[in-house]
Amino acid sequence: EDKVYIPLISKGFQHQFWQAVKAGADKAAAEFNVEVTFEGPDNETMVDRQIDMLSAALAKKPAALGFAALDSQAAIPILKEAQEAGIPVIAFDSGVDSDIPKTTAATDNVAAAALAADKMAELIGGAGKVAVIAHDQTSRTGIDRVDGFVNQMKEKHPGIEVVTVQYGAGDHLKSTEITKSILQANPALKGMFGANEGSAIGVVNGVTEMDRKEIVIIGYDSGTQQLQAIRDGVMAGAITQNPVGIGYETVKAAVAAAKGEEVPTEIDTGFYWFDKSNMDDPEIAAVLYD
């Protein structure tokens, strides 16, 4: 079988978010009758592992390549190799600082986190202390979401103080323990933002274990537990990206690029705020995963 082969090198593969991206990619693969593989390192610090994955993918002589860069600069030389070999590259999830990728299918994480900040401000009445638990201190998504949230608070909501930002590596248990310590240290805390799925679940767990129901929790991404927490009213709401869409659009663009067709320079896959009130709306339900 001489199917067109398109590898996707992502930032991870074990998390639900990435599994949803993969699902989207698989859907597109079936639709366009191409072969897709999906691979990513264990966590978002492993910049060099990702490069090794890229070079193995190139060795397989793909028709096109999907790539979610952990560090876009670090990957440029190998992307150049791809370019020289005539393999079109489609960036997804976050951009690459280079003109090599034909297009980028991504979420604007800064804007998404700013939306979370606005919602938080609205829910706690524009004043008080909040805290952030994020997954990673150095990765692009970690930095963007924290910066987006914190800067938006500084600029638009001066009455709100972000008392601390801590990092739990997306590990549910570690994030739980961190949440509990933050709650212990800040009895007056009003809200917490969990900047990815693992972090958000950690916040939910910690708040539940400490029995601090007054805390307003805002999450990021979806997944069974977050959806459940929102339904139960423990979590006020969350930002969701459109991971299935990201995967789908990436493969679709890759197929087009492989055929030499023109692709748009940017594909905004969008992000949405969802809470108890709108989570069952069809257009929202379509981008949620569990």
């Binding site: 593969f13 074990q14 998390h15 639900q16 599994q19 264990d42 201190q137 008392v163 601390t164 801590q166 990092y167 590990d171 549910h172 248990l173 739980t176 323990e177 961190i178 509990k180 310590s181 933050i182 212990q184 240290a185 009895p187 679940i201 767990n205 274990e209 400490m210 997944g223 069974t224 537990q225 459940q228």
Partner: protein, 335 residues
């Protein structure tokens, strides 16, 4: 000889509340110092709710550390404890949620899975003579992959199993002594500690654990079936990891198949901080408990003080070294 002079207290003094533990009490020093320091530094630290949070945070790592203590005393090492824990929680998830079997079956399945995997590691080490580091590293990788395969790379939730979260989060103690909300997870940690101490100090399995670490060949030439005992010890350690798997699954109300990497180093660190020698032949469960507590008090306290996270890491590293150094000095002085 310096070896004699640096000699720690009698190796067999493994019982939790025995005469050997009396000496070990001195190792509390670092722990007490930390507790006092944090209490003075923050009013939020020394509060019932926080102490319970610390104990709760110790439960999973503590149980893992107890399991790995056994293996380390035999002179081995177990790098697979973290992913084995995860694997067991995934097994519980499959049995309870996918198959819908009753809670006790899930509990037995998780512990049995741990025991079997431990037995497999033990077989690699004892029968195939693969160095424990490699045998359990391989096991760690295999279990990591298998957890993902079995779970279908997604968390398994225990929403259909009422009472599952009580394994770790409920509090039997509070129903007996109102106002003392010690979570079951902590209770289980102490039960595992006491049971393992008993096994180590009072049973033939425990005696051989120390003997294997002390001089395996001499034990074999005493007519003991060292391979079988070693496999039994790894299996027991695996079973204990199964308990840890239940604890973490219960706390997270889900089996998270990607979790577990890195837990092995933390568990081994607790063991070594607790005075167990990686060379084998000596160690105590009491020490391991203290070691695990030192680690979680430190983490919790630094967070309560809102120390910047990168500095938290630096301070944790420094204090681990200092704690062991203090213990070293004390031992040198007493001998």
């Amino acid at each position: 000889m310096s070896t004699a002079e640096a000699a720690p207290p009698p190796g067999i003094a493994a019982r939790l509340f025995s005469s050997g533990a009396h000496q070990k009490l001195l190792a509390f020093a670092s722990l007490i110092a930390l507790l006092i320091g944090f209490t003075l530094a923050s009013p939020n630290f020394m509060q019932m709710s926080n102490i319970i949070a610390i104990l709760q945070a110790t439960s999973v790592n503590g149980v893992l550390a107890i399991g790995v203590t056994l293996v380390i005393i035999t002179g081995g090492i177990d790098l697979s404890v973290g992913t084995l824990m995860t694997f067991c929680s995934v097994i519980a998830g499959v049995v309870l949620t996918y198959w819908g079997l009753p809670l006790p079956v899930g509990i037995v399945a998780a512990i049995a899975a741990g025991t079997l995997c431990g037995l497999a590691s033990g077989t690699f080490v004892a029968k195939m003579k693969i160095p424990p580091f490699i045998a359990t590293l391989g096991m760690m990788l295999m279990l990591k992959g298998l957890s993902l395969v079995i779970s279908g790379t997604r968390p398994i939730y225990f929403n259909d199993t009422p009472g599952f979260t009580d394994i770790s989060r409920g509090s039997i103690v509070e129903t007996i002594i109102p106002g003392l909300p010690i979570p079951n997870g902590v209770l289980i940690l102490f039960i595992v500690a006491i049971a393992t101490s008993y096994i180590l100090g009072r049973t033939i399995l425990g005696r051989y654990t120390f003997a294997l670490g002390s001089n395996e060949e001499a034990v074999r030439l005493s007519g003991v079936n060292t391979d079988a005992w070693k496999m039994a010890i790894y299996a027991l350690a695996g079973g204990i990891c199964g308990i840890a798997g239940l604890l973490i699954a219960s706390r997270l109300n889900s089996a998270q198949p990607a979790l577990g990497l890195g837990y092995e180093l933390e568990a081994i660190a607790a063991v070594v901080i607790g005075g167990t020698s990686l060379a084998g032949g000596r160690g105590t469960i009491m020490g391991t408990l203290i070691g695990a507590l030192i680690m979680s008090v430190l983490t919790n306290g630094l967070r309560i003080l809102s120390v910047e996270q990168e500095w938290q890491t630096v301070v944790t590293g420094a204090i681990i070294i200092l704690a062991v150094y203090a213990d070293m000095l004390r031992k040198r002085r007493t001998s």
